[in-house]
Symmetry: C2
Subunit: 210 residues, 2 copies
DNA sequence: CGTACTTTTGAATCGCATCAAATCTGGTGG
DNA sequence: CCACCAGATTTGATGCGATTCAAAAGTACG
């Protein structure tokens, strides 16, 4: 985990995260940029909340370890904020890791809270951001309460993809975890759906048919 | 669904929903109170967003109908807001119903947005509200990605309950839906856990042991 | 070229969904 | 008060699909 003094390319970030565009300059200037290794830990459950993280490159995950050793992904972010919901908490309630070498911006929570208080437009954008996250999580709950693997895959494509097509930005194995399935179950369901003709796969591009 | 002109008991509402305490008077005065019948529909997917709802008495649910006729509960609220995340949307993305006769406050979205812009403290409280909802939904996703019925029950008690004890405020049948299980599976799992001695049940009070 | 990881297939098992039906419950109207 | 009804609760039997354990083949990377 190394620091990096060059200023980030803000205009590129706005594209992937609208609320960044409305972030006041003072907050931007308070940010530090870091690069992490594969499997690096950003924070652990119980640590005091001191930063809000923006993933510029690579990926960050919030995870919690299940009783039987399994690892549950609570949030996965590529090109967006992570741990936003901890902004008004004292301590983190889960662990955060970067599964691959990544670049992140760290915003001190104090500066972040001040910016939200002082800047009307940023505050509003942040609210949309949270509301969007709520809707996304509701969709995920809905998906997880479907009983069959095929239904979850279809639901994912319909809600995350665009007009029946989705390009996967992660390994199928971690997709399986996101869908609440074992990787074997996912592979087999994909195979069945291809044989059915209800799905076509080209590389990381999944297209739903019929 | 009938209107009701008496002003609600605001002080009681604050207890169950902190952000109500910081709501400006102008917004309170813009609210209307309604009473609904059992199985009443508040709005349907695609309807334009015109109110934010606060459940005073009874229960409201956001639901979506699954392909095979099943009904998935996206949000369940007793004594809190519902459809908060639609505040910045044009149209609702699911249906809302009151499964039992209930009393709700309806806040016009326009007045609500104005209040958020004008009132600093209310805006801040609303943000905590959304952040809290995000954390709650993350917990639910985590729960739904557990594979066994017993694990989901345990997780529910640990995260929603207090020190290993939870008092259920709904039928077991709808609890089953919230846990992503059929009601039969829930009944049987509860039975097994009682026989194990890992759970004790007295009426609607569930206590986790060991 | 070896190592770590993902992807893929196989076989056995277990738990949940499903269908069916009986009992219990609270509330309604006669 | 009782008959009745709708819904929740409970138990049973069956089948399917996902998990689990195991292992092979493919792939990226140093």
């Amino acid at each position: 985990m190394s620091k990096d003094k060059r200023p980030p390319d803000w205009s590129a970030l706005v594209g992937m995260q609208p609320s960044v565009g409305l972030m006041p300059t003072s907050l931007r200037e308070a940010a530090t940029r870091i690069r992490t290794d594969s499997h690096a830990t950003l924070f652990r459950s119980g640590d005091p909340v001191c930063h809000v993280y923006l993933v510029i490159d690579g990926e960050a995950r919030l995870i919690r370890l299940a009783r039987h050793g399994g690892e549950v992904i609570l949030q996965r972010s590529r090109g967006g904020f992570i741990a936003e919901a901890s902004l008004d908490s004292k301590a983190y309630h889960c662990d955060a890791v970067t599964p691959e070498p990544s670049t992140l911006l760290l915003f001190p929570v104090v500066a972040f809270r001040t910016a939200l208080e002082d800047d009307r437009a940023f505050c509003k954008a942040w609210q949309s951001q949270l509301a969007k996250e709520v809707r996304k999580l509701r969709a995920q709950c809905e998906r997880l309460s479907l009983h069959s693997a095929a239904d979850r895959i279809t639901h994912y494509i319909e809600s995350e993809g665009d007009d029946g097509v989705v390009t996967l930005r992660q390994s199928r194995k971690s997709w399986a975890a996101e869908l609440g399935l074992t990787h074997e179950a996912l592979y087999r369901a994909l195979r069945r759906m291809q044989d059915d003709g209800t799905l076509s796969i080209e590389g990381t591009r999944f297209t739903r048919k019929a």
